[in-house]
Subunit: 204 residues, 2 copies
DNA sequence: CAATTTTTTGACCGTTTGGACAAACGTTAA
DNA sequence: TTAACGTTTGTCCAAACGGTCAAAAAATTG
């Protein structure tokens, strides 16, 4: 997770690696790791397979780079939750941010979901370390808010889990959501409706 | 989805097909469809690959049989929700049943999640048909309960989604849940804690 | 028992896959 | 011009994969 000797990269290398990661995100999020081929990614990135392997030494390396970048963005919204802010406002903002991520970055969400579903073989240390620490810290804050009577009392861990589950559901299970809502209600408005519902559910 | 000429099967065929599906559930739920090999499934079932292919004509056929059986169990809890029952009791029972499924059948849950994540290529018709119809029907009931003031008012569709998301989370994201809760709180009690939390969340 | 059907297996095949490699190409700078 | 370096590609390979097939083994039936 640290950087043992950071590699110096040319401009082209930075651009190409970025291009490859974008293509890989598209492919991996649709087919999962094992279901994706280097050829698919290479084609999506508009280059030949050997050329792609010049920038990433293996399929695994692409995936790891993607996950690494993803996890940062993943933890950010919870990091922003501020102990000194108004509890209701902080929770509301957190839900909003998570919902926006589900809407704007569904591929990242699905990629992460896939990794966890397979037993988190590549991010387990991160879950037990950085993520657990962060949640422990924020759970303490939420608990304090509840103790002060500024937030309805409940288990802060399951509270956070519930926010994760409900918001990510709209990215990960998007096809099911749309299928059930049907053509009329399944339009773009569904994220707004969901956000409004969740605010009431968690704060009402 | 119907049965065009139901095949007559010997006792051995019934037993072997069952054995294979159990093994396939184990393998598919861990590695996904593309990530699983026929050899893996055959080994888990304690037979040779050609022998397995004697009972199921392809990898796809195993998967379809599995999904078919799964979907029935999947819809059952919602089907049981009774219009004439007490709203709070009905919702509570529904949450309990879904939570028990997450605890007792996590492989089935993960298999389903995997299928949806990949865009539901094999169950889309079912989602748009049977599932949508069922949800439409139950949403109407919930809406009526809310109109009568017997249940807190909210969008019944997102209400149902939220129950799905939160309960299935404890099966699909189990490793993450355990990692965050840590060794102390991540024991078997987590399902009870979660169920209690969710009842309050949805009915409190 | 023998005849017939069902079940099991070893050997095999064509394709796909991740990855290696050397040769070619392009660019820049001495 | 040439040497050096970064980039790109065609070709190739070994392993893994889904699936076939003929024939042996086991079970069932007459």
């Amino acid at each position: 997770m640290d950087n043992p000797a950071k590699p110096k990269r040319t401009r082209i290398q930075r651009e190409r690696r970025e291009l490859i990661q974008e293509a890989a995100l598209e492919v991996f999020s649709q087919h999962g790791f094992r279901g994706s081929t280097i050829d698919q990614i290479a084609e999506a990135a508009g280059m030949s397979k050997p050329n792609l392997l010049y920038y990433f030494k293996s399929k695994e390396a692409i995936f790891v780079a993607l996950i690494d970048r993803l996890m940062e963005a993943w933890l950010a919204p919870l990091r922003e939750m501020d102990q000194d802010g108004d509890p209701a406002t902080e929770i509301r903002s957190y839900i909003r941010r998570k919902m926006e991520m589900a809407r704007d970055f569904p591929r990242e969400s699905r990629l992460f979901a896939n990794e966890i579903l397979q037993g988190a073989p590549r991010v387990m240390p991160l879950l037990q370390g950085e993520l657990k620490d962060l949640v422990d810290e924020k759970a303490k804050i939420i608990k304090e808010w509840m103790r002060q009577g500024r937030l309805k009392g409940a288990d802060p861990y399951h509270f956070i889990f519930a926010i994760w589950a409900t918001t990510q559901h709209y990215a990960d299970f998007d096809v099911q959501v749309r299928a059930v809502l049907g053509p009329e209600r399944g339009g773009e408005g569904r994220f707004e409706d969901a956000a409004a519902f969740l605010e009431k559910l968690f704060l009402g």
